[in-house]
Subunit: 245 residues, 2 copies
């Protein structure tokens, strides 16, 4: 388990990144994740890797009766309690790897861009399945496999004008750890192929209902040209799976 | 609908390709497809795009009571009847786009590397669902989305030694027609993202049970070094979906 978010350099860099108004999370990832959620009215919701709690607060605004946000980072949870606290939200310091310590049941388990930090995806899927009520929904976003597969070299081939022509893909088929630099060196993430992402959920008992690979439409490409390259290689993959009744 | 297989140049080229003993279909695609099939004993099996009937004959060897192979190409069907005929196999000239003309029910609908030629994948999925018995299996292979997305330029970035370093990926997110040269010019195929492949089956009523992206293991890479690049970019995607009971 790693806790990069309590590294002060990382925390500051991350905080600044998320404050930008045109960041890809706000534009593409979060709307796609919200679009996968069922009606939350009266629901018990668990948020895996809740960070500063923005999503937890949103789940309450959408009518959730109870939201539990877990995160490995004390700094994140302190920010969450300050910015996004409330009587219907409970924040717990708990790594996703220790979900076995948590009791359910929940109607919805959600997670935003956290699961690619977990080595034991099968164990996570089994725990989420156990924590969900029958009929409950597991909705999450993660790095897109075409992004997480990155191993070495340049991510893009550009033309003379500096425009991105090809996403450089290598070792897509090799599941496992990837060390990258993101604010700090040595950030450890886990690449998984599409088949691993889907089959692991099926093996845990889930019905896979939806995959989403958000990309900007023509209007969004004009408004945010720096995100136009998502047409070649998406940043995010979102999944909705259901524990059968 | 296109019928490239009745083009004599294409047919001859294709025939020679499939006769090579180290072709990727025989090494990776066909074993993966067979691995997705249920026990065929006593089953009625439909093969979409049956070509020369090798798979139909294999389904009979695996115990199928009845096999129907459909294909758009008269040349392919003539070869199939000659090489792989038999009392339990019926070959029909029927494009996959006209599955509505066929009556079921079947226990299994299989298809090997044909579905990426069909524009209306949703229509195909709906027809297959209708033709299957409850509990029946739809198992197919298609070009891998990282292969079918190809639009322009070179497929690979190579180093000074000529080794493949990166698969050059563009327009992965853009579903739709791709014109390629394969034996003949202007072969029309359809690229679909993973989310389209999966969601279309879910929308048709299927439970998606398995995705397979076959790649050579270390032993296969040593035996067939020219296929080692599949580690970077698979050629094939296989899917097993089930009509719920």
């Amino acid at each position: 388990m790693q806790n990069i978010y309590d590294n002060p350099v990382f925390f500051d860099g991350y905080s600044r990144l998320r404050e930008k108004t045109d960041n890809a999370n706000d534009l593409f990832e979060t709307p796609a994740l919200m679009g996968l959620l069922p009606d939350l009215a009266g629901c018990a919701v668990l948020d895996l890797g809740c960070g500063m709690g923005d999503h937890c607060a949103e789940y309450v605004r959408r009518g959730a009766a109870k939201v539990v946000g877990i995160d490995i980072s004390e700094k994140m949870l302190a920010a969450a309690r300050e910015r996004n606290g409330g009587p219907r939200i409970e924040y717990l310091r708990l790594p996703m790897e220790q979900l076995g310590a948590l009791d359910g049941p929940f109607d919805v388990v959600a997670s935003s861009l956290a699961i690619h930090y977990v080595a034991d995806y099968a164990g996570l899927a089994a725990n989420v399945f156990r924590l969900l009520k029958p009929g409950g929904v597991f909705a999450f976003s993660q790095e897109h496999p075409l992004t997480s597969c990155f191993t070495t070299g340049e991510r893009w081939t550009k033309n003379e004008k500096g425009e991105k022509v090809f996403a450089n893909i290598s070792n897509y088929s090799v599941d496992g750890e990837r060390l990258t630099e993101w604010m700090v060196e040595g950030v450890r993430k886990y690449h998984r192929t599409f088949s691993t992402v889907v089959n692991t959920l099926v093996d845990a008992g889930f019905a896979v209902e939806r995959l989403v690979e958000p990309v900007p439409d023509a209007e969004m490409r004009r408004a945010y040209p720096r995100h136009a390259d998502l047409v070649h290689k998406p940043d995010f993959l979102l999944v909705r799976a259901r524990r059968p009744r």
